[in-house]
Amino acid sequence: MMQMQSLNRFRRFFRYSWLALLVLLLSGCHFDMYNQPSIRTYEPSSFFEDGRGSRPNVEGAVAVNAAFYDEYFLTGLVDGVPGDELPLELTRELLERGQAQYNIWCAVCHGHAGYGVSVIAQRGGIVPANFHQQRLRDASLGHFFNIMTVGVYRGDPEQDGFRSMYSYASRISAEDRWAIAAYIRALQLSQNATIDDVPQDRRGNLGNN
């Protein structure tokens, strides 16, 4: 008799066990794959005191690729004076890269043709340099690279001095800054070209493009 009762209980257990299975299925509904504990870019984190997941650079940190280049490549200066040498091979690809990058970074203020005329300059507040003035036509290539790297400070730091152009070193790679410098030179040549600069056999193409 006792055996019969325990068998019934056993059956009843199996009859309703599917309910437990359903509950198990429900416990599968969770979001910890959507939102994993690992920190994604810019995600906040309570682990660090300032609440940032992405850590700021340690003071004095040097970029990995900085070790592959010499000082001239990274500053454009030789003994503190701008050099006039392009440390990359001058190719059509380099100038095209320079043009593309110039149009992203420089054209917003200096204008696509480099005259310092642009929508942003028109709004006032910023007075971008004209690349076709004599001072900059005489400037060496390293000058442009150095300005892109360190920016421009105008006036006296003690009194009304301000950073009129910020450094672009953190945004444009050194290769691209050299490509832009080379392209600025090309722009300067283009705006002061005469018919004698065009090869005889190409003159027929003028005005067709």
């Binding site: 939102n35 810019y42 940032r52 149009n103 917003v108 910020y166």
Partner: protein
């Protein structure tokens, strides 16, 4: 002792079986519809930011390229939110007194970041890399819509798997020439399928059986 339930209670029991089933199905469907809805996914919902930055003004009116601020999009999996320094490049000289820009100036002075709200997101189990897409001819506007027309940015896609697979199965329907990737006004030409097939070959885009492999997006 009389009967507790009247005779027609039988009908009630029978109906309630079907009504219960119907109710359960409807409930499941409603939950599914809710989690897939634009309201839940915040699609077409403009997300307010701590600084009222307008892409419409900066991109459409001023003509600033996407990459001026989102520098890392060509090299990195992540299209960065610009550093405060990028804002201050111009705004240390333009609109220097604007109260709207106060959080930017405070951030530049203190070094604490501006707490921008994330607008476009994919779940953590999805591996998405911006650089491979923009370097193989997938334009910004294909996924992000006409950001240049958005005074306040919103998501135009819920980024369901189906959205990704649509292109991963038929990339030739969506790829554009590399020089048009950042062009917000780009419209696919009438011969997109021919042009697309040609670009797929030229850019070495993987065949669909590899692009739709699980590990391509779930790593």
């Amino acid at each position: 002792m009389g009967q507790i339930f009247p005779r027609n209670a039988n009908l009630f029991v029978r109906v309630s079986i079907f009504a219960g089933l119907l109710g359960a199905t409807t409930l499941i469907l409603l939950i599914a519809v809710f989690f897939r809805s634009n309201a839940y996914r915040q699609v077409n919902v403009a997300i307010e930011q701590p600084v009222p930055y307008s892409h419409q003004l900066h991109v459409d009116v001023l003509g600033i390229d996407c990459r001026y601020c989102h520098v890392s999009v060509e090299q990195s999996y992540f299209a960065n939110i610009p550093a405060t320094e990028t804002c201050m490049t111009c705004h240390s000289q333009i609109k220097t007194e604007s109260p709207d820009l106060a959080p930017v100036r405070a951030s530049y002075a203190s070094g604490d970041p501006v707490l921008w709200e994330k607008v476009n997101r994919v779940p953590d189990f999805v591996y998405f890399n911006h650089s491979i897409h923009v370097n193989k001819g997938v334009g910004c506007s294909t996924c992000h819509g006409r950001v240049d027309q958005m005074p306040v940015v919103w998501q135009t896609q819920a980024f369901f798997m189906g959205f990704c697979l649509d292109c991963h199965r038929n990339p030739e329907n969506y790829v554009r020439p590399l020089e048009e990737v950042y062009n917000m006004e780009y419209v696919h030409p009438a011969n997109q399928r021919e042009l697309g097939a040609q670009l797929v070959a030229q850019y070495g885009i993987m065949p669909p059986d590899q692009l739709t492999n699980c590990w391509t997006c779930h790593r």
